[in-house]
């Protein structure tokens, strides 16, 4: 009776759909890490001395640190001297003024990825700051945003155009000494995005950045800083795909969000980096530090992430709720298939009065995938009447995968309320059969059930991202059921 059901092997053998390397000349530093490399990067970026000094301070501090090993997902040691810390597409050395000046190969790459850099995105009302390897090559909609006083562009540009903002906020949320990977990033970050929303401005479009790792052996050290001034609002989308390769690649980004009084930042991520093949060979190491601070009263930061890629994902987008009545949210879907491992969650640090946080985490494990939720809810002494609600659900597909939950709760204020709910379920045979009996084939049925499981998170995503997330989940689940 199973004659027509495709085997796990057949399905798992499907190639990573976004795997290809585009052939663009890179202007790279030699592999390895030293003070000279840090100086080289800073010089390439034409940076002011204070920034070079900050980088060097980070580098020297990094030398004194040791790599953390407490996470659930273990990995072989990384040789930091094998990594190329700077690589930029040559065609951008003079800085393109329009898309016509952009390397056609690059545009072709985006097309293959289905990223419509030009008309489609504009029609959709999305401004794109495309990060290709380490340098931003195209920025759209800049003028419209500039009219509102919004700054949206590459981090490097912002260093030149708004040095005072960078100086004030860089490292203010994630200090250079924060953790091994954030410190490394502080020393060698090459580019990233910078956003500033002025007082009272509601950003009229979703700001979207597509990250992509390209030149072989180039670790990516992105640095993103978003500042929402008093009473402003911004929704920022970050989405990633990467080309196929054999060696593991390190990705250690840092994202800092600052929400001032009454400001709101919504940060959404779809992460789809190369997860390695069906035997667990290759794939990206995604070790990211993301943190936001509700610096003043009534500020609101919301993280939504859909993590389907990378061999190892290790990240905890967090909120420091300093202002009274400020709100932090974390909505997460993490899917691990084949030999992928994810150790992800959030930290909600309640400092101000009446601060509120919500954590909804959905972990899906298939194949030999391992999924860990790790979260910290901390209510400090002054967090009068603070509230947290955590819901942490895991779904297992098949026999060889695992789900793990590590919730940490630390309450110093007796008026604070912390709620934690957790469930683990299996895709039941009876659910699958019910779907199949209605004519829905096995793969579609799994995808339907898993998407249903993730609904609470997907509804937090902007519409077009939600559609993408649904598709991505289906692609990532291919071959997970035999």
């Amino acid at each position: 009776m199973t004659a027509t059901t495709p085997s796990i092997e057949e399905l798992a053998n499907q190639q990573y759909k976004y795997g290809f390397v585009s052939d663009i000349e890179a202007d790279s530093a030699p592999p390895g890490l030293s003070e000279d490399i840090v100086r080289f990067i800073s010089k390439k970026k034409n940076e002011p001395k204070w920034l070079l000094d900050w980088r060097l301070k980070a580098y020297r501090h990094w030398l004194t640190m040791s790599e953390p090993d407490w996470q659930f997902a273990k990995y072989p040691p990384i040789n930091y001297q094998d990594i190329i810390y700077y690589s930029a597409p040559k065609s951008t050395s003079d800085g393109p003024k329009s898309l016509d000046e952009v390397d056609p190969d690059l545009l072709e790459t985006y097309k293959k990825l289905g990223i419509p850099l030009e008309e489609q995105k504009m029609l959709a009302g999305v401004a794109v700051d495309a990060v290709f390897d380490s340098v931003s090559v195209a920025t759209t909609f800049k003028k419209k945003l500039a009219d509102l006083g919004i700054v949206f562009g590459s981090f490097s540009d912002a260093v030149q155009s708004h040095p005072e903002l960078i100086k004030q906020y860089l490292g203010s949320i994630v200090p250079y000494s924060d953790n091994y990977f954030a410190t490394l990033n502080s020393a060698v970050f090459t580019d990233g995005s910078f956003v500033y929303i002025p007082k009272g401005v509601r950003c009229p479009m979703e700001l979207s950045t597509y990250f992509r790792i390209n030149a072989a052996n180039t670790g990516q050290f992105e640095r993103t800083l978003i500042i929402a001034d008093e009473g402003s609002y911004v929704s920022y989308l970050e989405g990633c795909t990467a080309p196929m390769r054999d060696e593991n690649q390190l990705h250690a980004a840092v994202v800092e969000l600052v929400a001032l009084k009454d400001a709101r930042i919504k940060y959404s991520t779809i992460q789809n980096w190369y997860p390695g093949d069906e035997n667990g060979k290759g794939g990206i190491y995604n070790f990211v530090t993301k943190r936001g601070k509700c610096a003043d009263d009534n500020a609101h930061i919301s993280w939504t992430q859909v993590e389907t890629g990378s061999a190892i994902t290790w990240k905890y987008p967090s909120c420091i709720l300093q202002g009274d009545n400020s709100v932090g949210e974390f909505y997460s879907v993490a899917l691990t298939n084949n030999y992928q491992k994810a150790d992800t969650g959030t930290k909600m640090i309640h400092i101000g009065r009446n601060t509120k946080s919500t954590i909804i985490s959905k972990g899906i494990s298939a194949g030999h995938g391992q999924n860990a939720y790790r979260g910290l809810v901390r209510m400090l002494k002054g967090a009068e009447n603070a509230r947290n609600y955590t819901q942490c659900d895991s779904m297992l597909i098949g026999q060889d995968c695992g789900a793990h939950t590590f919730p940490y709760i630390d309450v110093k204020n007796p008026s604070a309320t912390v709620e934690h709910e957790a469930t683990t379920s299996k895709i039941a045979e009876d659910q699958l059969f019910y779907c199949k009996q209605r004519g829905i084939n096995e793969e579609d049925a799994v995808s339907l059930i898993v998407n249903g499981f993730c609904k609470e998170v997907f509804k937090e995503l902007p519409m077009e991202f939600a559609v993408e997330a649904t598709k991505l989940l289906s692609i990532s689940l291919e071959g997970s059921v035999g």
Binding site: M1, T2, A3, T4, T5, A428, E429, D430, Q431, F433, Y434, C435, K436, Q437, R438, G439, I440, N441, E442, D444, L448, I449, N451, G452, F453, C454, K455, E456
Partner: protein, 264 residues
């Protein structure tokens, strides 16, 4: 009594010498059953006789192992096909215990089912407006509140709502062979009547029904052409609708005795 087996008709489904095991236990032991196109057949029998197993096997549930015998459906070897293919070819099972799927709305679910079946048959995806119209029409038919459509599949439904939702799906998918597995259990008389009206409105040439029930009560509303008694994995007696009445009055004991007399 209409002697269904005397007519020359196309056979919807022909089951020959069917043997089925589930977790090592033999449930069906040489079952023979033929349902001609356009007829309503009812299966009755004591608990554990294999009624639900039969429906699950026809639908293609892989938990049940067919060790011997054949099922021919609409001229094809049914056992070669996976459950979704069978569904697309017109086999529908109204489940005794409909399954809950969290986060998937009934609307989403029926849309996925409807269009999957169309795709399998090489038809284009349904026009959304026409589809919505059909949904409304079928909701009305089974008197299902269309607010139910935005809720998760069967989640938090009452027993009656679940059964009505099964009949709604049946009406939407317009199968050729519709099987109802104890759809009457847990229904009050009003709900029973609504379900039966839904089924009766779908009775037509080219569509057959297999109605599994414990009680003859349902058969007052859905009047079968033929009643079969399933006992210990085999059909041991077949007759007209009055057989159901006899069973109601006398229980299954006499059929069992008759059957074992024949077997010995």
């Amino acid at each position: 009594m209409k002697a269904a087996w005397d007519k020359v008709v196309d056979q919807m489904i022909e089951i020959k010498n069917l043997h089925v095991k589930v977790v090592g236990n033999k449930i069906l032991k040489g079952l023979n059953l033929t349902i001609p196109s356009g007829e309503v057949h009812s299966i009755m029998g004591p608990n554990g006789s294999g009624k639900s197993t039969l429906a699950q096997v026809i639908a293609g549930n892989e938990a049940f192992e067919v060790t011997e015998g054949s099922i021919e459906y609409d001229g094809q070897d049914l056992l070669e096909l996976d459950p979704a293919e069978r569904a697309a070819l017109g086999i529908f099972l109204a489940f005794q215990y409909p399954v809950e799927i969290s986060g998937v709305s009934n609307m989403q679910f029926i849309n996925a089912a409807y269009n999957s079946q169309r795709k399998y048959r090489g038809d284009e995806e349904a026009d959304p407006i026409a589809f919505l119209k059909l949904v409304k029409e079928k909701c009305k038919l089974v008197k299902m509140n269309d607010k139910l459509l935005s809720r998760s599949v069967n989640e938090g439904f009452s027993g009656g709502e679940k059964k009505r939702h099964e009949i709604f799906q049946m009406a939407m998918l317009a199968p050729k062979l519709a099987m109802l597995d104890e759809t009457d259990s847990g229904l009050d008389i009003d709900a029973l009547r609504i379900v039966a009206d839904g089924v009766n409105s779908m009775r037509e040439d080219g569509r057959s029904f297999l109605v599994i029930t414990h009680y003859q009560r349902l058969l007052d509303y859905i009047v079968p052409d033929v009643v079969h008694v399933l006992y210990d994995g085999r059909i041991v007696k077949s007759g007209g609708k009055e057989l159901a009445l006899q069973l109601e009055e006398r229980g299954y004991a006499w059929v069992e005795q008759e059957a074992s007399a024949i077997a010995n």
